[in-house]
């Protein structure tokens, strides 16, 4: 069908991953878009996330597939070990057979790199206006469209595509602080906290105790080897090892993830993945 032109732009509240992705999708439908972001700069925080084949399909549909592929880290398998006896519970290969099945790879990436890829896509595309330091205070809806009142009381006319704060309420609660023991473990970049008593126990015992103590999983990810990530690289490497431009003796960014170590991501301060 033909796209009916709109008199006013579509307003997107929030310049995070959801907002920029929406802006790209709408722009690709031929619509003029204004993104309202309350922060003074468009940026992103967060930790590492997993990308399934569906995420890569979405990147492609938004026109940023190559950028995202260049920033992702590809793995060969997902494994799960029992925290009590360390036995192997499940193993899901995500190598060639997986990619052939789903048409796209499985990977991990820093959240900020997803956002950056979207932002670059927005900037490259043009026709999307980014307004920073604009906090949506109120929305007035009429028959012809809507007016968004920002905290500075300037009215912006348009049509809201996604307005989270107004319609969904408390969508940006501050993160809950991590328990002290977990914070210390993360600061030490270790899987386990120091034992409170003695130093004679085996590490395995400590690990078991800490697993009970923490009641949560600490996902293991590729080691904090900065050469594993190649920021800005646009080459699509759905291969197990990092595509080498260094010496062949350089440490391999192994995709068989170390499951007994919890190494931290170069840019991720913490893994606040807690299930209960």
């Amino acid at each position: 069908m033909n796209a009916a032109p709109l008199a006013s732009p579509v307003l997107v509240a929030g310049g995070g991953i959801g907002g920029l992705a929406a802006a790209l999708a709408l722009s690709r439908q031929g619509l003029a878009v204004k993104v309202l972001e309350q922060a003074a700069e468009i940026g992103e925080i967060g930790a590492g996330i997993q990308l399934g084949p569906n995420a890569f399909a979405a990147f492609d549909a938004l026109g940023i597939g190559a950028r995202a592929r260049g920033r992702a880290v590809y793995t060969d398998e997902m494994v799960m070990h029992d925290a009590i006896d360390e036995s192997l519970v499940g193993r899901i290969p995500v190598g060639e057979a997986f990619r052939a099945r789903f048409g796209n790879p499985y990977a991990v990436i820093h959240r900020a790199d997803v956002h950056l890829s979207l932002l670059e896509g927005v900037q490259e595309r043009g026709g999307i206006e980014l307004l920073t330091s604009t906090r949506v205070a109120r929305i007035e809806q009429g028959d012809a469209g809507v007016t968004v009142i920002d905290a500075g009381q300037e009215g912006l006319s348009g049509r809201p595509a996604m307005e989270r704060r107004e319609h969904l309420g408390r969508s940006r609660l501050p993160p809950r602080p991590l328990p002290a023991a977990r914070r210390r473990a993360i600061q030490r970049r270790r899987h386990v906290p120091q034992p409170a008593t003695g130093g004679v126990e085996r590490q395995g015992r400590q690990r078991r105790r800490s697993a009970k103590l923490f009641r949560r999983h600490l996902p293991a990810r590729p080691a904090a080897d900065p050469t594993c990530r190649k920021p800005g690289s646009a080459e699509p490497p759905p291969t197990a090892s990092r595509s080498g431009d260094g010496p062949s003796a350089a440490p391999r960014c192994s995709a068989t993830l170390p499951t007994r170590r919890c190494s931290t991501w170069p840019r991720a301060p913490a893994w606040p993945w807690k299930t209960r």
């Binding site: 959801g18 992705a21 929406a22 995420a55 979405a58 938004l62 519970v89 499985y106 299930t275």
Partner: protein, 89 residues
């Protein structure tokens, strides 16, 4: 999910010629069950990851030695998403 949301909204607008009312309705119809399934599945995976006692033993017996194809089949609904099939019929 945010990326899927955005693509789905764009596809809905394309299908409805930028009629926002119809597109939003189609978008909601396409997203509600899938996003709820993702949330419910994540919650259940959290329970499985942190199973203890006999639940843990059951989990280990369920998964140990399972062939990759069985995992793939179970993940098809999640990983098989594409822009071409994202709109509800």
């Amino acid at each position: 999910m945010a990326l899927e949301d955005a693509v789905t909204l764009g596809e809905a607008l394309r299908a409805h010629g930028n009629d926002f009312t119809a597109a939003f309705a189609h978008y909601e119809r396409s997203r509600i069950a899938r996003t709820a399934r993702i949330v419910l599945s994540a919650r259940e995976m959290g329970r499985i990851f942190h199973a203890k006692g006999v639940e843990r033993l059951v989990r280990n017996e369920l998964w140990q030695g399972r062939a990759p194809e069985r995992f793939y089949d179970a993940l098809e609904w999640l990983y098989g998403w594409r822009a071409e099939n994202c709109l509800a019929r």
